[in-house]
């Protein structure tokens, strides 16, 4: 069974927005610029998630979610001995895409900043949702894993979309090339576990050596 959750605005991190916009700090932007972008962008978001919780098992590099099976070494490693996993699709809606495309034509600086706000919003929505699942199912979650991470093929999108019926439930659609529309959306799998996961520093597993933010995240 697929469930739907609608959220009001999750917690906002300006630091993350600046990172997505390619800036170091708010002083890199003219005074009031980020505020103006936020004022325009925040009202257009609509935060929705649809999800199912599956019984699952991992055998070698095959992850079996009963409704669908996936071959991926990296996902298998991530899920480990999990017996259940939540498969979810989250979106902040299509309004932000219209706004980005409006400013893409008349003011790319705003488009970049508004796209950064969108990226921060969808990540924040996923975090909020995962915290909810932890509470509801009285569990901890492995770090969420999305199609395209490591060796997990993007074609898994097809399975996730068909199992969750994302179009009907949250209006999320799949483009032929496996990209999603609305673009500020995430699909992911997170295994249930008993052990608290702590905060793995993403920088430690990232291979990019020349990143402006190396060590920050």
């Amino acid at each position: 069974m697929t469930f739907i959750k609608a959220y009001s605005a999750p917690e906002l991190s300006r630091k993350e927005i600046l990172r997505y916009a390619g800036c170091k700090s708010e002083t890199d932007l003219p005074e009031g610029f980020l505020e103006a972008c936020l004022n325009e962008a925040l009202p257009v978001f609509s935060y929705k998630v649809c999800y199912s919780v599956f019984d699952m098992k991992v055998k070698d590099d095959e992850c079996d979610f009963s409704a669908f099976k996936v071959k991926s070494k990296d996902l298998a490693k991530n899920l480990g001995s999990a017996k259940n996993a939540v498969v979810f699709a989250a979106t902040v809606g299509v309004g932000i895409d219209r706004l980005i495309s409006k400013y893409g034509e008349i003011s790319p600086s705003k488009a970049v900043t508004i796209a950064a706000i969108g990226a921060e919003r969808i990540e924040s929505l996923c975090n909020t949702f995962c915290e909810d699942i932890k509470r509801e199912y009285k569990t901890e979650l492995k770090p969420r894993f999305s199609p395209g991470y490591g060796d997990l093929s993007l074609s898994v999108q097809k399975d996730i979309f068909s199992v969750l019926n994302c179009q009907k439930h949250i209006g999320l659609t799949l483009v032929d090339s496996m990209l999603m529309s609305p673009t500020k959306s995430v699909t992911a799998i997170a295994g249930f576990t008993e052990k608290p996961q702590g905060n793995t520093k993403k920088c430690e597993i990232c291979e990019n050596k020349n990143c402006l933010y190396k060590g920050d995240i």
């Binding site: 069974m1 390619g22 800036c23 003011s107 488009a111 990209l179």
Partner: protein
């Protein structure tokens, strides 16, 4: 009895949900339920029969996702054949009294339409057309288009139904908890769109329980002139101990719907979570009620993908700026196929307070059919104002109306036989309100009574096509007062009579009146005020004109339309002189170079206007703009400034170039510039990166031809050959779309070996770019510019 006859005098009971029932019977997650029509015909027939037994007058076939995006043509034929047979068997087997009808059920395609997604509007129409034709072939009694959460896709499905059948069509949308469709349409906008296209009934289903849907249904009941359908869920699904439970009981469900039937709902049933038990309870309530008379509403409205504009006592401003007449710079933009110029005009007019945008791209040298369609597509993707399709080219009018996402205002029809015969069929088919000019074969009558007579003739003609008078808006033609001293008086008198005696709305193109006179703004604004006082409902004006906007806000304030003068006071802040506005950013910069470096577009444009009086355009570019851009570019490369700042400077430079272009519109030619073709490759719908590169390249003097996003390799190749373009830039975001990039490069090497190919995008690396055969991997926009400049410099020095 046919369905429409039954609907006329009865409350119609539909069936309930099937998804939940099928899951109970073993449908696995991800399994396609439509196949069960063939593999589990007995179960499907059993569910339909249970609904007929419970009292449903209509059951919907199990074909929600039956379309050619999911099934082959052959499979689809079999599925729809079986689905309708299952419903027919159920109708035969059920012993229940009452009329029994079968609705061909059509749900969303699962795709989002372009430009937000990748399904083309016409392709969507074709997909739905196949399903509709099969429904007709196998004997459905009516069509239900349901759970649609996008207005554009709804239009595609309805158009397919109308073009391929004579069956009654009911359209039901799924509204979110914010009361809108996922892509933004409010219920009123859907009523405008659907009624315009001649739907049999409309309403809402799915999303939530009857209680949560009631405000939406009441809003629809208030303005709809056709029967209203309601098919809510059994409340919201909740997970209780791993099981799914809906929170509204059958009795509560029935009584909540009953309350809405008393308010006018004519067709009721259930959606997710409802079962024959719910329908039985509902039918019991329906039997106690008699249908409420459906009142014909005479509300004139037009809509965009999101919003509705109603013609009432509130004056409506139609922005006139998207029209090349008398605008050299606009003509240049049209010839160069610069749709972004039109977008800027659209967005700008909205910001100045326009309610509707007139769109006229008529120019002898261009393909008007294609350009109008492109302009409408581009505008409706980013501006939520309704559009006025303004053309005398009937093919252009039709192609624009067809792809328009809403109910358009159409400009125009007139009293000539030829005009009504060509325009009215389009209004009838695609919906729309149409501006009718009071002239005919014998010209424009000199008297008000003559113009009113033509208005009556047009109304009589519209009636023959089944077009209601609420959708005719008369333009009594503002003529040049300097040529005839009574011209304005006659126009106003005719408008007044039409409003008062015929009960129709009116619209006027204001500025004609002052042609040939000095201080035209003074004449225009007073004429506008007089027209409003004579009952004018809409005016085509320039929203950038301070005088016109002053008149508008003042009129509303004086007529009691502006509570506490709030809007007047807010607008009055901008009534001041224009100079103040140009330097609105108020930052302390003292010249153009600084303005560009600091990224202040307003100042940059302002200083350029001053400079161009004393300095040659070439000097402004070479001595002011380019050095400023170089400074910012170097700072960006040295990580002293970041991307948003780089872009702000680029935008400021663009504002300066815009001033220069306007000043030299008739001498400037693109031929002296190097052409750089740019596109996001097939399959990819991201275009920020591409837009950034484009902006920077334009600033550095390249003629950038932007082919957009999700572009087929062949299209890029053909354009490169056609323009013999020396540069092609390709952008891709994901690994899956990099393949399309590789394919594009392969074809370019074969057919356009002269061109240099620059690639960029999130997943690309230098190595990968080399592997797929690109000439250059640009890690950011500046690097793309530097490469193009160095290549250009090698070929031919001193082009800029």
């Amino acid at each position: 009895m046919n369905f429409c006859d039954f609907l006329r005098d009865n409350i119609v009971c539909f069936d309930g949900g099937t998804g939940t029932l099928l899951q109970e019977k073993g449908l696995a997650p991800g399994e396609l339920p439509e196949l069960w029509n063939i593999t589990h015909a007995d179960i499907i027939t059993g569910i339909h029969k249970a609904y007929f037994d419970a009292g449903s007058n209509v059951v919907c076939t199990n074909t929600f996702g039956a379309n050619t995006l999911k099934f082959s043509d052959g499979q689809l034929d079999k599925i729809i054949n079986a689905a309708i047979e299952n419903a027919k068997s159920a109708a035969k087997e059920s012993k229940a009294d009452g009329e029994k009808f079968i609705a061909l059920d059509i749900g969303p395609s699962g795709k989002l339409l372009k430009p937000l997604g990748d399904l083309d509007f016409e392709d969507a129409v074709s997909v739905y057309a196949k399903t509709v034709k099969l429904g007709v072939k196998y004997g459905a009694d009516l069509i239900l288009i349901e759970t649609m959460n996008d207005s554009y896709e709804t239009k595609a499905a309805l158009l397919a139904a109308k073009e391929n059948s004579d069956l009654p069509v009911i359209v039901s949308n799924a509204y979110g908890e914010d009361g809108k469709l996922l892509t933004g349409a409010e219920p009123q906008a859907m009523v405008a769109l659907l009624e315009g296209m001649g739907v049999t009934a409309l309403g809402a289903n799915c999303s939530a329980g009857p209680g949560q849907l009631s405000p939406i249904i009441e809003e629809i009941l208030n303005i709809a002139s056709v029967p209203v359908i309601l098919k809510p869920n059994a409340g919201l699904p909740k997970s209780v101990g791993g099981k799914t439970v809906y929170d509204v009981t059958p009795d509560d469900f029935a009584s909540e719907i009953s309350a809405l039937i008393k308010k006018g709902v004519r067709i009721a049933g259930g959606c997710c979570g409802t079962t024959p038990e719910y329908i039985k309870a509902l039918k019991k309530e329906i039997e106690k009620l008699s249908p409420v008379h459906i009142e014909k509403k005479s509300i004139t409205m037009v809509s965009s993908y999101a919003k509705t504009v109603k013609f009432s006592s509130e004056p409506i401003l139609i922005g006139e700026r998207i029209n090349p007449t008398g605008k050299k710079r606009f003509k240049e933009a049209l010839k160069a196929n610069d749709i972004n110029y039109i977008l800027r005009e659209g967005i700008g007019q909205k910001e100045k307070g326009a309610h509707i945008l007139d769109v006229n791209v008529g120019l002898p040298e261009i393909d008007e059919v294609l350009t109008l369609k492109n302009a409408v597509s581009a505008l409706q993707a980013v501006v939520d104002l309704p559009l006025q399709i303004d053309t005398s080219n009937i093919s252009a009018m039709e192609s624009a109306l067809r792809i328009y996402n809403g109910k358009a205002l159409i400009n125009s029809v007139n009293g000539k036989k030829e005009s009504t015969a060509s325009v009215f069929p389009l209004v009838k088919k695609y919906g729309g309100a149409v501006v009718a000019l009071t002239l005919d074969e014998s010209g424009i009558p000199e008297t008000a009574s003559g113009r009113v007579k033509i208005a009556k003739k047009i109304l009589a003609e519209a009636e023959k096509y089944g077009i209601d008078k609420k959708d005719i808006i008369f333009d009594t033609l503002a003529l040049t007062v300097s040529a005839d001293k009574d011209a304005a008086k006659v126009t106003l008198e005719a408008a007044k009579i039409i409003k008062e005696e015929l009960g129709c709305n009116t619209s006027l193109g204001i500025s004609n009146v002052s042609f040939g006179l000095p201080s035209r703004e003074a004449v225009n604004s007073l004429f506008f005020a007089l027209a409003l006082e004579n009952g004018l409902t809409a005016a085509i004006i320039n929203p950038y004109s301070a005088e016109m906007m002053k008149t508008y806000y003042t009129y509303r304030a004086l007529k009691g339309l502006d509570e506490n003068f709030e809007e007047y006071i807010a607008a009055a802040e901008n009534f001041g002189d224009v100079k103040g506005q140009v330097l609105q950013d108020g930052k302390d910069v003292s010249n153009l170079k600084e303005a560009v470096i600091k990224g202040l577009s307003g100042e940059s444009g302002g200083y350029t206007k001053e400079l161009i009086k004393t300095m040659s355009p070439l000097d402004i570019v070479n001595k002011e703009i380019i050095p400023a851009l170089n400074k910012v570019g170097e700072d960006f490369e040295a990580k002293r400034v970041y991307l948003p700042q780089l872009l702000m400077s680029a935008e400021a430079a663009k504002a300066a170039f815009e001033v220069i272009k306007t000043a030299v519109a008739d001498t400037q030619s693109h031929k002296t510039k190097e052409t750089f073709i740019i596109a996001t490759v097939k399959g990819d719908i991201h275009d920020i990166g591409k837009n950034i590169v484009k902006l920077l390249l334009e600033n550095y003097g390249f003629n950038v031809v932007d082919l957009g996003k999700d572009v087929l390799p062949q299209v890029i190749v053909e354009k490169t050959i056609e323009l013999h373009a020396p540069f092609v830039g390709l952008s891709a975001l994901m690994t899956t779309t990099v393949e399309a990039m590789e394919e594009t490069i392969r074809l370019l090497r074969k057919s356009a070996p002269w061109c240099k190919i620059v690639v960029g995008g999130a997943v690309l690396t230098k190595d990968y770019a080399e592997k797929i055969g690109a000439d250059k991997y640009a890690k950011d926009a500046m690097e793309a510019v530097r490469f193009a400049q160095s290549e250009k410099g090698r070929k031919c020095k001193n082009i800029i």
